[in-house]
């Protein structure tokens, strides 16, 4: 029964989150640029409509099937990722024993989806974007795995519901503050945003999106926002105690925390500069990965001594 409820609520959460993310996506840049926020609310709707009435593009002999499937797969992965997040005690669409492993599988398939999106165009700039994203998307995934495993240690379980319950005493953000930051970076990478936007950057005139328009572009945009929402909800659940919180009902807490993470991610995407891909790859392997190692060891030692 609660599972059916969660399954019904999930699309609403996803769509609401996409709407919020779309508004933020216009409001935050306007704020940084020092301009008025007036058009932030209507903007997403009119722009989306503008895309919807345009002809859908194509190139000479693209890989049509994969070009169509890539955004759909990306969107679907976002939804699957969200399905392991409990909305309230016991209310979860997919209560799997290995919830964080499923989330990891979604991460790795996201790399595939983005790669296919760039590859299928048979055009040089999307192709570079696709390959560049693989170089960053793969090692960024390792970070999240370490961080999630460190979150699973105190819960003694890989189920997301157990990870939330294990945070009743102390939230994971306190246990591994650096892990939280690393997971936010992964979120930027998964939703192709700001400093981790290696697939669709300006120096490739939109990278994997350079050749698409019309509904194809609309779908890709929606999928990116959906992934952003999904990552935010996961971050809120794993690090900020999910639905836990006093007075208000659990679902409200989750929505509040998710929105907070969403704001942080959108801001981080606007505010920070992007490194060239080679330097980012170096940074991930030689600085961030050892950091996630340390975080794991720290949590382990803490549990051994006081757990």
């Amino acid at each position: 029964m609660t599972q059916v409820l969660a399954t019904l609520v999930l699309p609403l959460v996803l769509l609401g989150g996409i709407a919020l993310a779309a508004v933020l996506d216009r409001a935050v840049p306007a704020l940084v640029a020092g301009r008025s926020l007036k058009a932030s609310f209507v903007g997403p709707i009119t722009v989306a409509s503008s895309w919807a009435v345009a002809q859908t593009g194509g190139t000479e002999h693209p890989d049509k099937v994969n070009w169509i499937l890539a955004p759909i797969l990306y969107f679907t992965l976002a939804a699957i990722g969200l399905s392991v997040v409990p909305f309230a005690p016991g209310v979860v669409a997919a209560d799997l024993d290995s919830g964080i492993v499923l989330w990891g599988a979604c991460e790795s398939l996201t790399v595939v989806a983005v790669f296919l999106h760039g590859w299928s165009a048979n055009s040089p700039l999307p192709l570079i974007g696709a390959y560049r994203y693989v170089a960053i998307g793969l090692p960024a995934m390792l970070l999240s795995m370490f961080v999630l495993i460190a979150a699973a240690l105190p819960a003694q379980s890989l189920a997301v519901t157990d990870i939330v319950e294990a945070q009743r005493s102390v939230w994971n953000i306190v246990r591994q503050p650096a892990g939280f930051v690393l997971f936010l970076m992964l979120g930027l990478s998964l939703s192709l945003r700001g400093p981790f936007d290696y697939a669709d950057p300006y120096d490739l005139v939109g990278g994997t999106t350079a050749e698409i328009s019309g509904t194809a572009r609309l779908t890709w945009w929606l999928a990116r926002l959906a992934m952003l929402v999904s990552v935010s909800a996961m971050t809120a659940t794993v690090f900020l105690g999910g639905y836990l919180g006093p007075v208000l009902p659990g679902f409200v807490w989750l929505v509040l925390k998710t929105s907070l993470v969403l704001v942080v991610l959108v801001c981080a995407g606007e505010v920070f500069a992007r490194l060239p891909p080679d330097r980012m790859m170096n940074l991930i392997w030689l600085a961030l990965l050892p950091l996630s190692f340390l975080m794991l060891v720290a949590v382990g030692v803490e549990l051994l001594l006081w757990g």
Partner: protein, 382 residues
């Protein structure tokens, strides 16, 4: 019904415009997109209106035609203080200063259907005939021969960095790529995302330079920052530049603060695009220093004051990864760029014609009686 509603909404959206910028119009075109009623399309596929701003060279008209035809329907072109190309039947021109109203009117008419979407200017033919040719009618023979689907395949070449012999992809980039200076057209050979060789096809257009050092630096930053993913910062810089050039004093501390927080300088790899001891990072630092009102007069773009005889843009780009190359190409002002990109290709092009004719004859003779070693498209090993 649903479509009608969508059209109403789409009519209210900012007009997606792709700007093909000509001589002397870069600053004006940049400022144009500060208007909320417009949005700049980086790729022509995202645009509904092609705005040709300022006069372009005769040779660029080809590229304009190609860009125009790449646009998806509904589409239109506005020639803003520009010379319309020969194949445009009834070009819409605009010679006033502010084309926003005209762009909006065109956009609305396109969405309403009161203005027809412009037809192609080029013949509806593949770049090479291929249908029905080859073993399966796909246009190619063997592993890599022929022109499947209209184009040949890239060929093997040794890599500059590690010598791995994979395919080298050669294509002309520009002259209207938004992240390259307008008018600059390079023939770039890539292996992966590393530039093997770059060849100058056409130099950038001359642009007016602002006399005010701060305005100049702000405009340069506004073009540079989007490469680092800092679009909003770029808008802020451009806003400030516009105010300053209008004579309104404006506080620049906030911009400097935001840029310091962004880590923009740290994100630029050191040691790329070195000219006279200054790499890209140092040049950006100079722009940033020019924003500092507390130290007036420190701004001095040394690269522009001294003649650049030996340095060439194509040498700076050689062996660079793509994003580094784009950073390099945007770290100079237009005068320096033109100095770095000397035109010397006139004679070479004429020579190319002759060789090409020779090759064509050679190619037509190509067929049955060829020695086996001529088939370079054999697979290695196996």
């Amino acid at each position: 019904m649903a479509i009608a509603l969508l059209r109403r909404l789409a009519g209210a959206a900012p007009v997606p415009v792709f700007a093909a910028i000509g001589t002397g119009m870069r600053a004006a075109a940049d400022d144009l997109f500060l208007d909320r009623r417009l949005t700049r399309a980086n790729s022509i596929r995202h645009a509904r209106i092609l705005l040709v701003a300022g006069p372009v060279r005769e040779a660029d008209q080809d590229d304009i035609h190609r860009l125009h035809d790449q646009m998806l329907h509904p589409r239109a072109t506005l020639w803003w203080k520009a010379n319309a190309g020969p194949d445009f039947a009834e070009p819409t021109t605009w010679d006033e200063d502010d084309p926003v109203a005209a762009l909006e009117a065109i956009h609305r008419a396109l969405i309403d259907g009161t203005r027809d979407s412009e037809p192609d200017t080029l013949p509806n033919e593949p770049p090479n005939p291929w249908r029905g040719k080859g073993d399966y009618g796909q246009g190619g023979e063997g592993m890599m021969g022929g022109t499947p689907y209209g184009r040949p395949m890239a060929m093997t070449d040794d890599d500059l960095r590690d010598g791995l012999a994979l395919d080298a992809y050669t294509a002309p980039f520009g002259p209207f790529l938004p992240m390259l200076p307008p008018g600059l057209k390079l023939s770039v050979t890539l292996q992966g995302d590393v530039i093997q060789t770059a060849e100058l096809l056409r130099p950038p257009f001359p642009q007016a330079k602002s006399a005010d050092g701060t305005v100049h630096a702000l405009r340069a930053l506004a073009r540079f920052l989007p490469i680092l993913g800092l679009d909003a910062h770029a808008v802020r810089c451009l806003d400030a530049a516009r105010f300053l050039s209008a004579g309104t004093p404006i506080e620049l501390t906030k911009i400097r603060q935001l840029l310091r927080w962004s880590g923009a300088l740290a994100a630029i790899p050191p040691g790329i695009g070195v000219i006279e001891g200054a790499d890209v990072r140092i040049r950006v630092e100079r722009w940033l220093a020019a924003l500092d009102e507390s130290q007036p007069g420190t701004f001095e773009d040394s690269a522009t004051t001294s003649p650049l005889k030996s340095a060439r843009l194509v040498d700076l780009l050689r062996g660079r990864e793509w994003s580094e190359a784009i950073l390099i190409a945007n770290s100079f002002d237009t005068e320096t760029m033109i100095a770095l990109a000397p035109v010397e290709a006139e004679d070479a092009e004429a020579d190319d014609r002759d060789i090409e004719d020779e090759n064509r004859m050679d190619h037509e003779g190509h067929g049955a009686g060829h020695p086996p070693e001529a088939h370079a498209h054999g697979a290695p090993g196996a």
